[in-house]
């Protein structure tokens, strides 16, 4: 489930509020808040759309997990999904590397 909206990176663009399919975030005067964490379906799409890599979705779908943000930011987890699918300028060549056609029919 969504665990982190990093106040340092977030620019209050509110894209996550708009794109979350299950309406987990609320706008505020400042950065968005995780208002309904229990509705998060752990689809990782908010991370994908966040242009600042300010969000972190924990892979645990059913339980909240305490997150040490300082330690998290020392890993490459934040933004890792966006980079992997090619939605950053540096990795855009990855948008067309789908090799599913080699896996079908197994």
């Amino acid at each position: 489930m969504i665990e982190v909206v990093d106040g340092e990176r977030c620019t209050s663009c509110d894209i996550c509020v708009n794109v979350c399919p299950t309406n987990v975030f609320d706008k505020t005067d400042g950065i968005p808040v995780i208002a309904r964490q229990g509705d998060c379906q752990t689809c990782f799409l908010c991370e994908l759309y966040c242009p600042e890599d300010a969000l972190y979705v924990s892979p645990f779908a059913d339980q909240a997990q305490p997150i040490d943000i300082v330690a998290l930011k020392q890993t490459d987890s934040m933004g890792s999904y966006r980079r992997a699918v090619g939605w950053t300028d540096e990795t855009s060549d990855r948008r067309s590397v789908d090799r599913s056609y080699l896996l079908f029919g197994h």
Binding site: N18, N23, A84, V85, S100, L102
Partner: protein, 542 residues
């Protein structure tokens, strides 16, 4: 650019609400809904698309990668493609529909290429079009929908349909949940593209799919078909949401003590996993994947690895606990009954597309996942959008029609108890999640579940209207409850095992039951058998 006169018109509305006049209203903004909206707009219709979440991220496709049933128009290849799934589907497919879906999917995939979808190119320079990356695909579909002149209402769950005096569907209303107001769209035709129902199981991307369209359609008298084919379960890490059945084809499955679960496999052995999970934990390790396969997996479906990378598990070397999450009619094949080539339902003015509609015509009683559903979404979406636009063109001016709201459950003021959506959702899940009820079906267990579900329906029918802040959840819970009852009533009616529907008390396929089960109703659920086209021809020839 679209002609501005072909945009839906915002009209005056009472305070606390917004209203639009359109030719076609599409409810749901996944692949089927966006194809429907684009296709209706290209026919000259003024279109509104209302999505419960955000058109572009909503639904089972956006969060995943999906295969597409894309086959080159070579008669021999097409024949193999149609034939190789017929047995699995219990011979309930319809060859004519399979042919037109293959044609349509080929055309629509090629349109995606023209629009700039970044299809991969293989070593021989051939563009490979049998897979789509969900986020990329749906981001593009949102853009194309807007460019077609469609008015998109995001975060706008539909709650009920509007009907005219003759019972024809003429719009819908709902709430804008981020603006705390209501919306109404008066339209000449409505396409339901609300997806299937996965009962909030958290199978990837499916928690918006709670059968909302089914409930609205049932309230105007629509019929359903193949609702017994509603019990696929997908493998995911026990703690996570990412279901990608294809990759578990390279897994070995073991008990707690490390011994192999006999017969367990992703394809053709998932029931062995379900049986083992009834006894205790089951573990998977993708140890049959060689280095090439591992690489292809990583680049093809990056989100599959997020649960592993973020917990320090190497899925190729480490054992990790798995579970099976119910996918319901999202990957089942049941849904609204289609009555003609334009994907009309049995109710005038109402069309169905994607997983909201039955996929029996191309899948019979089994789908192995996205491939056929993705093809169906594009094809049925386009047909429903065109059909709805053509129907709308024949309907007189909308302003002259007197419309009424069709919603009943959770809307009626009653002196009784308050409507409690969260408790109702848990009660429904307790009847549809357990493998011993839904995966492995048997008459007395199905009847027991139905008795409890029917009692719950009577209970909510007598409950007071849901509070404004709870109305969306109340309608979702009621929709899941109704869906469970159509599923199990249909499952009782099919006294055999066929496709994904397995009866412990009728373990074999019965050639006399090569028919479709139709169902419907809310207070009283009915079922009836409908002949399969080929089976009835064969009988006539005897």
């Amino acid at each position: 650019m679209p002609n501005p006169t072909h945009r839906a018109e915002r009209v005056s509305a009472p305070e606390g609400s917004v209203a639009f006049e359109a030719d076609v209203l599409v409810i749901g903004g996944g692949p089927a809904g966006t194809w429907a909206a684009v296709s209706a707009a290209e026919r000259g219709a003024r279109v509104v698309l209302a999505d419960k979440g955000f058109c572009g991220t909503s639904g089972a496709t956006a969060a995943a990668g999906t295969g597409v049933w894309y086959i080159d128009p070579d008669p021999a290849l097409r024949e193999v493609a149609m034939a190789n799934r017929e047995k699995m589907g219990g011979y309930l497919q319809d060859r004519r529909w399979m042919t037109r879906v293959l044609d349509s999917t080929y055309q629509h995939s090629n349109r995606l290429a023209d629009w700039g979808y970044p299809y991969p190119v293989d070593g021989r320079g051939t563009s490979q079009r049998n897979s789509l990356q969900g986020p990329e695909y749906m981001r593009m579909m949102r853009k194309r929908t807007k460019q077609a002149g469609v008015t998109i209402l995001d975060h706008s769950p539909a709650l009920e349909l509007l009907v005219d005096d003759d019972g024809a569907v003429a719009g819908a209303s709902g709430v804008r949940r981020q603006k705390q107001d209501r919306w109404t769209v008066r339209a000449k035709a409505v396409v339901l593209a609300t997806g299937g129902c996965a009962f909030l199981s958290k199978t990837l991307g499916s928690n918006v799919l709670t059968g909302d369209g089914y409930l609205m359609a049932a309230e105007v008298g629509a019929e359903f078909s193949s609702m017994e084919f509603s019990n696929p379960y997908a493998i995911s890490p026990a703690f996570g949401s990412v279901t990608k059945t294809l990759f578990y084809g390279w897994a070995s499955f073991t008990y707690d003590d490390g011994s192999v679960v006999p017969g367990a496999a992703s394809k053709g052995g998932r029931s062995a996993i379900a049986r083992a999970l009834l006894e205790g934990p089951v573990y998977a390790r993708l140890d049959k994947a060689d280095d090439d396969v591992r690489h292809h997996m990583r680049v093809s479906q990056p989100n599959f690895f997020l649960p592993f990378d973020r917990t320090g598990i190497d899925p190729f070397k480490d054992r990790f606990p798995v579970t099976l999450r119910l996918e319901g009619t999202v990957r089942g094949t049941g849904g609204l009954r289609i009555v003609d080539d334009s994907c009309a339902t049995s109710v005038p003015g109402l069309y169905a597309a994607g997983d909201a509609a039955t996929r029996e015509l191309i899948c019979g009683g089994f789908t192995g996942g996205g491939s056929h559903n993705a093809a169906w979404a594009m094809s049925s979406g386009a047909w429903a959008g065109q059909g709805a636009a053509d129907y709308a063109a024949q309907v007189g001016p909308a302003a002259k029609r007197k419309l009424s709201s069709a919603g009943a459950v959770a809307f009626r003021s009653r002196p009784g108890r308050a409507f409690a959506p969260a408790a109702l959702t848990r009660a429904v899940q307790a009847e549809v999640f357990p493998y011993e009820l839904n995966y492995f079906r048997e008459a007395s267990r199905l009847q027991g579940a139905l008795g409890r579900l029917d009692a719950a329906w009577r209970d909510v029918s007598e409950a007071d209207a849901a509070d404004r802040s709870e109305i969306v959840r109340a309608r979702e819970a009621a929709a899941m409850l109704a869906t469970a009852r159509w599923m199990y009533r249909s499952a009782l009616a099919r006294q055999e095992s066929r496709g994904m529907h397995r009866r412990d008390d009728f373990p074999d396929q019965d050639s006399r039951q090569r028919h479709y089960v139709t169902t419907g109703g809310l207070d009283e659920i009915w079922t009836s058998a409908r002949p399969h086209a080929e089976a009835s021809y064969a009988e006539a020839a005897e």
